[in-house]
């Protein structure tokens, strides 16, 4: 009896066991819980009375009880109403003096209560956030930050919790805005950056927090904010990629196979089910549309104001409020120039600021050059840039300068001029182009880059013999045609766009020799008729009969088209221009790329590009349909192999153009070719290069092994066995003898059968192939099932 009693008592004292029992049946164990809870209450009161003098055993007991109560608090909501409040009180009053383990337990218990929805996120974050800001303990800060982050993530898991997000964002913003000089703002920056990375916060409010951080008066907070704008989006993309990569791939087939062979049990069944579910989920995730997230730079409320403030606060004054070191200054400068370049802002004083830093002795001058290039765009007045270009040329590019310096300078100048070609004057350009004769390879290449740029954008500034054939032809054509008006680009000039495929339409019209007026009249026939009977009307039939493969009878299409035409009629010219704008890039790149291939054709095409078809007359519905058809056929011809090469060139050009538009310029871009002029490589480097070793990974090409060995390895890495060929080759000679003997003695009929079977197998696609060939089945000549097909001879 006594032993039994002891055992039972022990069980009662065992909190985890009691916790388990309560979970299963809360009402029955109410009394036990009440006992424990009152024990907790008296310990809590004791602790309250003397928080510092409570002994170890008391603290340990309190910790265990807090853990226990928080685990089962959701079973007795009325009894434990005061519990969360007590925990919060303990933390708020005594967090500085609490024993570390108990303190962590209190935080963990509060989070647990939040997970059990005893308290809501708002309350939890209102407790944790002030603690994070005020506590002197590093480990507690780390814990709190992690808990806050995970709570925000979980509460945004299924749907975005706008209310919570807004309140936390406001807290973060206020933390920075209320006291710009305090380093506490770093926590707001950290939290925002982390949540941005995980795509929990993707809105303008998060960006405005970072905006405030970048403009505050603590160096660390400022750099945190600036770094976010420069790298936050990239980090977000990488995190998204990581997420998709890191997922475990499950082999469902293997699992199913195993389940078929092994003893059946509900556990194995469940495993298979879970695996299929997981695979489905992964598939779904893979196929899910990419979330449309704007980059932080695009979500800025007032980029001009932001850039101005950044510049005036951190860079311009000789004695700024925040002391930033060179690296931090460079970061800020990078952000300002990025903003200026991206949003085409006007910040004239920025350019004169650069003047001081453009000398080869300036540390990390390539970053300054990159920033300068970034800050340049087509709307910067050339007067502001000209002295800068001149200074770079004077300081960097000379015979006396080291080759790396010269190539960096030339690259810098080129990057500036790509964005604003008018920043260059003729004499300087002609002087710089001379460096393509330099002995150093890096300088040579840089100068060539500049030359080819100006052949494209301002050939008339080059000397005649430097222009090259294509550029000269183009120039001549322009001169003859327009009387030299278009020869020089003017400041603020914007390329006009074109309707894609308009040249095709014009050409087609010429070929058809259609009378313009008559055609137009026909095209407008019935344009506003009901879509249902439109097929019977003349204007539409004409088009249909010519383009059979296009389905135009779709009523929705019709309506849309009608609307378009209506619009076109109302707005005539401006509408056409709008359409053109959308395709500016394509048209331009096409024309540019092809120009280099065949100059004659280029001239002709240029003519067509500025064709006045769209501006002189209104496109009828029939015209638009034809346009679409012509575009499609053109796309088909473009896919022919002969056109593929051309297409690749166009794509490359487009990629190049895209790079200049939106991406950042880095210091390595500027330093770029300096590697070439860095002197001879050592023997090891050369050997490594020849062997194709890049970053320690041997390239496939220079692997000194037999083809078979490499194939074998490939198979092994895929988790497969040897190929059939390999097996055949390895077969024991004695086993092949019998067949070989028999082979010689086959009759002609046998031989024929074998050959026939072989041919048929080939058609079917191997022994297991299910590629049925109609002819062989019909040959059987009888009704019945053949390989899963029911055959009925006709």
């Amino acid at each position: 009896m006594k032993r039994k009693l002891a055992a039972l008592e022990k069980l009662d004292a065992d909190l985890p066991a009691l916790q388990h029992k309560i979970r299963n049946d809360p009402p029955s164990y109410r009394d036990d819980f009440v006992n424990q809870y009152s024990q907790y209450q008296s310990l809590y009161e004791l602790f309250e009375a003397s928080p510092t003098t409570t002994d170890d055993t008391g603290i340990v007991r309190l910790r265990d009880l807090v853990d226990f109560v928080s685990h089962v608090a959701d079973c007795y909501p009325t009894l434990t109403k005061a519990f969360p409040g007590q925990l919060i009180r303990l933390l708020e009053l005594h967090h500085a003096t609490l024993e570390a383990e108990l303190r962590d337990k209190l935080v963990g218990s509060l989070v647990l209560l939040r997970r059990k929805e005893v308290i809501d996120s708002q309350i939890l974050l209102n407790v944790l956030w002030p603690l994070l800001i005020s506590t002197p303990s590093k480990s507690l800060r780390a814990l709190l930050f992690q808990k806050i982050l995970s709570d925000l993530r979980t509460s945004n898991n299924k749907t975005t919790n706008h209310k919570l997000n807004r309140s936390v964002q406001t807290t973060c913003y206020n933390l920075i805005a209320s006291n710009p000089a305090s380093p506490k703002g770093l926590w707001a920056v950290k939290l925002t950056r982390e949540l941005w990375k995980r795509q929990v916060w993707t809105d303008g409010k998060a960006v405005s927090i970072m905006e405030a951080a970048a403009l505050c008066q603590d160096a660390k907070v400022v750099t945190g904010g600036v770094r976010f704008f420069l790298g936050g989006d990239q980090e977000r993309e990488e995190a998204a990629d990581d997420d998709s990569e890191a997922e475990d791939t499950v082999d469902v087939r293997k699992l199913k196979h195993q389940a078929g062979i092994n003893k059946k049990s509900s556990k194995r069944n469940k495993e298979v089910r879970d695996a299929t579910k997981k695979v489905k989920r992964q598939e779904k995730k893979k196929n899910a549309p990419h979330p449309l997230n704007f980059s932080a730079l695009h979500l800025l409320h007032d980029p001009q104001g932001f850039a101005e403030k950044l510049f005036q606060q951190h860079l311009q004054p000789a004695q700024p409020k925040v002391k930033l070191n060179l690296d931090q200054k460079l970061l800020v400068l990078n952000l300002v120039s990025r903003l200026v370049g991206l949003h085409k802002l006007t910040l004239i004083s920025l350019y004169s600021y650069f003047l001081k830093y453009l000398s080869p002795r300036q540390p990390s001058v390539t970053s300054f050059l990159a920033s300068l290039a970034q800050a340049t765009h087509s709307l910067v007045p050339p007067d502001a840039l000209e002295p800068l270009v001149q200074k770079i040329a004077n300081e960097f590019v000379s015979e006396a300068a080291a080759s790396e310096v010269a190539s960096a300078g030339l690259n810098g100048i080129r990057e500036v001029c790509v964005r604003q070609p008018l920043a260059m004057n003729e004499t300087l350009l002609q002087d710089l182009v001379q460096y393509r004769k330099s002995k150093d390879k890096g300088v040579q290449m840089a100068a060539r880059g500049l030359l080819s740029l100006y052949r494209d954008v301002g050939a008339e500034m080059l000397k005649k013999r430097d222009r090259g054939r294509d550029a000269a032809l183009k120039l001549r054509a322009q001169n003859t045609q327009e009387g030299g008006i278009e020869a020089a680009r003017r400041f603020g000039q914007v390329d006009e766009g074109g309707i894609e495929g308009l040249d095709l339409l014009e050409k087609w019209k010429e070929e058809q020799g259609l009378d313009e007026d008559e055609d137009e009249a026909k095209g407008w026939e019935n344009w506003d008729a009901e879509s249902d009977d439109s097929e019977s009307s003349g204007g539409w039939i004409n088009v249909e009969s010519e383009g059979e493969d296009i389905d135009v009878s779709d009523s929705e299409d019709e309506k849309e088209r009608k609307k378009d035409v209506e619009k076109a009629k109302k707005q005539k010219l401006p509408e056409a221009k709008d359409d053109e704008k959308e395709n500016v890039d394509d048209a331009e790149t096409t024309s540019r790329a092809t120009a280099s291939l065949e100059p004659e054709a280029a001239v002709k095409r240029e003519e067509q590009r500025i064709s006045k078809l769209a501006t002189t007359r209104i496109l009828t519905p029939a015209d638009l349909t034809k346009l679409k058809e012509l575009q499609q056929s053109a796309a088909i011809t473009a896919n022919l192999p002969s056109a593929k090469r051309r297409k690749l060139a166009v794509q490359a050009a487009a990629a190049n153009a895209a790079r200049h538009a939106d991406d950042a310029v880095t210091a390595s871009d500027i330093a770029g070719l300096a590697k070439l002029s860095a002197g001879k490589a050592t023997k090891e480097e050369r050997v490594a290069l020849a062997r194709g070793v890049r970053d320690g990974v041997e390239a496939e090409k220079n692997d000194h092994r037999s083809t078979t060995a490499r194939r074998k390895e490939k198979k092994a890495s895929e988790g497969k066995s040897t190929t059939n060929k390999e097996k055949a080759r390895k077969k024991n000679f004695m086993m092949t003898l019998g067949k070989a003997k028999r082979k010689g003695k086959r009759s002609l009929v046998e031989q024929r059968g074998i050959l026939k079977a072989h041919v048929e197998r080939g058609k079917r696609g191997g022994r297991k192939g299910n590629k049925y060939v109609g002819a062989t089945i019909v040959n059987l000549g009888q009704e019945g099932w053949v390989g899963g097909w029911y055959i009925k001879p006709s």
Binding site: K2, E9, A13, S28, S42, E45, A49, D55, A246
Partner: protein, 339 residues
């Protein structure tokens, strides 16, 4: 996700061949700090045991400090010394006041060792009752002990409560929470919750039979609890003996005047404390209920009387020792009815 990749990395690293270096390891720097401590605190198993060459006061203080010693025997011996000192030395000549001694000794109410606890009770009994001072800390520890997991400590805590009621009933009642909180503790211990109807506990749809004496062993604890409760209730609800001549005495004292008491400055401290003008909002349980009438009133108001009466009835039915103890409680409860 991070955890997953980490795990994978760990798995992979298991199969990586570690490169073995040939030769000796680099000698440690001369100024390197040894950081291979395992213990976070240093525990002294034996504390200064020499008793020679000290006067009585120093020895007394030394023993008082030994109450928080890690070793059980040392604690017990210190208690023994203090007890003998308290009994032999005259009250006025004690080096420390009784209140100070209690403050130092009270954590031992929850001590795990029964010998230490027994000695503690002896020490408490040896202290002069008049000098004990405020008991609220002791009551806190007592309540913690009453709700303790161990039966021994539960019993001991009841002993302590008996002692405090026996010596300083008024002080117990004047502690914040000394009345209602204590009653709630008893209620929890005896499971005399309000939602019991005819001995059947109902929670939602389910019902379970209540178990006042659910423990398999003897009902010694229950009997003790009931006895202590009875004495507690009696002490709390018995009005102080009124002196029939008190009125006349006072009138004689202040002869020419009438009802001066009402116009004088109050002699009690914090007279208007009951208005609670400046303090934090108090709850009913933490309140001080100064006299018996107030206590009876709140006892009825909270419906405790009903609960206790049902509980007592149940306990009475068990008869035997428990029934006898319960009838004691019943008698005490009658005091509340009158009031």
């Amino acid at each position: 996700m991070g955890a997953l990749t980490k795990k994978q990395k760990e798995k992979k690293s298991d199969f990586k061949k570690t490169k073995l270096k040939v030769g000796k390891t680099r000698p440690k720097n001369t100024n390197a700090t040894d950081t291979s401590f395992a213990a976070k605190s240093i525990v002294l198993k034996q504390q200064n045991l020499g008793e020679t060459g000290r006067d009585a006061t120093a020895l007394f203080n030394h023993n008082l400090s030994l109450l928080s010693s890690k070793s059980e025997t040392q604690r017990r011996d210190a208690l023994q010394y203090l007890t003998s000192a308290c009994t032999t030395i005259a009250t006025a000549k004690l080096p420390q006041s009784a209140a100070a001694i209690i403050a130092k000794a009270q954590p031992l109410i929850l001590d795990g060792n029964s010998a230490v606890r027994g000695q503690l009770l002896k020490l408490f009994r040896s202290l002069p009752a008049a000098q004990v001072g405020s008991l609220d800390q002791v009551l806190l520890y007592t309540r913690a002990g009453m709700a303790h997991l161990s039966n021994d400590i539960k019993l001991f805590a009841l002993d302590i409560l008996d002692w405090s009621i026996g010596t300083n009933a008024d002080t117990v009642m004047s502690c914040p929470g000394g009345w209602i909180k204590m009653l709630r503790t008893f209620q929890n211990l005896l499971a005399w919750q309000g939602d019991t109807i005819n001995g059947v506990v109902t929670h939602g749809k389910w019902s379970a039979t209540k178990s006042t004496s659910s423990k398999l062993g003897s009902n010694k604890l229950l009997v003790h609890q009931l006895n202590t409760l009875a004495s507690f209730l009696t002490a709390a609800m018995t009005p102080p003996p009124s002196d029939p001549f008190a009125e006349a005495k006072r009138a004689a004292q202040i002869f020419p005047l009438l009802e001066t008491q009402a116009h004088l400055l109050p002699a009690k401290s914090n007279t208007f404390g009951y208005l609670n003008l400046f303090g934090a909002v108090r709850d009913l349980e933490g309140e001080v209920y100064a006299d018996a009438d107030e206590r009876i009133e709140i006892f009825n108001e909270l419906g405790l009387l009903e609960d206790f009466r049902t509980g007592t009835l149940e306990a009475k039915k068990e008869a035997g020792e428990v029934g006898r103890a319960a009838s004691g409680v019943d008698k005490a409860l009658r005091l509340a009815e009158i009031g």
